[in-house]
């Protein structure tokens, strides 16, 4: 038996650990296009902010590969899969034979295609290498940054740059920040909090071009309006790396399609993480839920099934958490009522209050008596119990529904009766 894992990030790492829990002998070869042992992509903005050293990005101890008896090949970019002969090939012509293959190649940051997007101070932020390069620019004394995009990665980047003392302007093409994660009210609260801490926002604003000859000078947002900048970060979402696998016989939708064991349509080839299209069991549709907990869970289950167990993956859940300048927000499942649903059996219970100068907001979304999702800002201590209720998908009694208004454990205990 020879396992090949392509990608050593969230999904790959959890798959490897799961396989080794069951099988200590077989060969495990880990191929990664990057040059780094498993590190946390989510923490690169913490590094940029100066909150943690680069060494703290690594997820496991230095002896990890040796202890688990792994062969890790860095800089191996897989470009070809020959499933008839069970072989993967890399761009530089190396090849490896597999009995079971996991594709955990994640996603790629979308680039802008506007004039000036190839200037040296224009970045997307996806890898440790991106972070180190941006850090270099900061150390050379960059003072003004423009972040294009209002999603999670954009805001985490903007926060980091602000923490490093830069003047930061965020350009958002829609009318709301974090529109995938939060409802409009929660987004307003977070935006106001970020503004109070020195970030500037321009909503409904598109970057038209990036100006400058050899270096970034500014960003043009209207024919006559240019904002000064010496650093531009583009956060326009991510794209699963599945596009690169067209032509090898895979079923590809929004990402690599898999069955409930996370196996692709080609036997012995599994997929997990940001590259994978999965069943969102709350939104009831196939989608790519590109977050860390989904990637690790899929990785672990794919690993178990590659070993030969038969674990069913029940599906993914949109959920996320942010914490900026002491104000945290979390959401899971369905976070906004769509207009067409409003008249059916959907409802929401919304609540906003101030405590010690900080806003506390919560919005729970119900379909009948089933909790379908929520948004919390400020007090997030009860979040885990609510997440469990969303996952359970069971109708609650009125008494239980009332408990969701209470503090953390009252809810958990109330559910036990």
């Amino acid at each position: 038996m020879s396992y090949i894992i392509v990608g050593n990030s969230a999904a790959g790492l959890f798959a490897i650990e799961e396989i080794r829990r069951h099988d200590t002998k077989s060969e495990i070869i880990v191929l990664t296009a990057e040059q780094e042992p498993s590190y946390s992509r989510c923490l690169i903005t913490y590094f940029l902010a100066g909150e943690i050293p680069a060494s703290q990005l690594y997820l496991r101890d230095v002896d990890f590969a040796a202890r688990l008896n792994l062969t890790v090949v860095y800089g191996a970019e897989v470009t070809e899969i020959d499933s008839a002969h069970q072989i993967v090939r890399s761009a530089d012509g190396r090849e490896w034979h597999y009995s079971k293959l996991l594709l955990a190649m994640g996603a790629l940051a979308n680039k802008l295609s506007i004039l000036g997007d190839d200037l040296p101070e224009v970045f997307t932020l996806r890898t440790m290498r991106d972070a180190l390069a941006i850090n270099n620019i900061l150390e050379q004394g960059a003072r003004k940054a423009i972040v294009i995009g209002g999603g999670l990665v954009s805001l985490k980047s903007a926060y980091a740059l602000r923490k490093r003392g830069l003047e930061v302007t965020v350009l958002v093409s829609s009318g709301q920040i974090l529109s995938q994660m939060l409802d409009a009210k929660a987004a307003d609260i977070i935006q106001e909090h970020l503004r109070a801490n020195g970030l500037r926002f321009l909503l409904e604003t598109e970057a038209q071009a990036i100006t400058g000859q050899n270096h970034v000078q500014g960003v043009l947002i209207a024919p006559e309006t240019e904002l000064d900048a010496d650093l531009v970060i583009v956060g326009k979402g991510v794209r699963p790396n599945s596009e690169k696998l067209r032509g090898f016989g895979f079923n590809i939708g929004l990402g690599l399609q898999v069955d409930s064991y996370l196996e692709t349509n080609i036997s012995n080839i599994y997929a997990a993480g940001d590259i994978t299209e999965t069943w969102d069991f709350v939104r009831q549709k196939f989608t790519v839920n590109a977050t860390w907990p989904n990637a690790t869970t899929q990785g672990r289950i794919a690993g178990a099934n590659m070993y030969g167990r038969q674990e069913v993956y029940l599906g993914s859940l949109g959920l996320n958490s942010v914490d900026f300048f002491g104000l945290s927000a979390m959401s899971a499942g369905i976070t906004k009522l769509l207009k067409k649903e409003a008249h059916e059996d959907w409802s929401q219970t919304e609540n906003l209050k101030m405590l010690g100068g900080l806003p506390i907001y919560r919005n729970l979304i119900w379909q009948g008596d089933v909790l379908k999702g929520f948004v919390l800002v400020g007090d997030t201590s009860q979040c885990g119990v609510l997440t469990a209720l969303v996952k359970a998908g069971q109708p609650l009694t009125q008494t239980q529904k009332n408990l969701t208004k209470g503090k953390r454990g009252t809810l958990a205990v109330g559910m036990m009766k």
């Binding site: 923490l43 945290s328 997030t380 885990g384 119990v385 997440t387 953390r408 454990g409 958990a412």
Partner: protein, 164 residues
Amino acid sequence: MRQILVRSEYCLGCKSCELACAVAHSTSKTLFEAINEPMPPQKRVFVESSGGLNFPLQCRQCLDSPCVHACMSGAMQFDRATGLIQVDEHKCVGCLMCVMVCPFGVIAELPDTHRVAKCDRCQDLDYDPACVAACPTKALEFVEVREFAHSGRQTFLDQMKGVN
């Protein structure tokens, strides 16, 4: 492995366990000194009440370990020596991803250090949990898992999660 068994019907809601837990996680490990420590010690057990039912909640060491899967720093991990899920406070960045998924709501935020803490089975006390020793009615007991499985109650959350 031993588990902390909760017999909620014996719990008076006196919170002796909460106090003992905070003291056990203080620097001095004594109540009088703990009160004056610069970083107030954080309890990791929460006595919760709901309509006549009292329940001391602490980390249940979930088999499916949602907190480990959610942790994006590698701080929340299985400790190789004991097989327990523990937080490495040097790695934790306080992102609260674990809080977001812990179905029992038993991960405490430490606002001063911007990290989290949860029941560690009293690592510092040779894994002799202070809450169990402090409980006057034996609502908390530290017992082998097999025994636990027989006498432990099937809770709503346990059922839906397949915990223990």
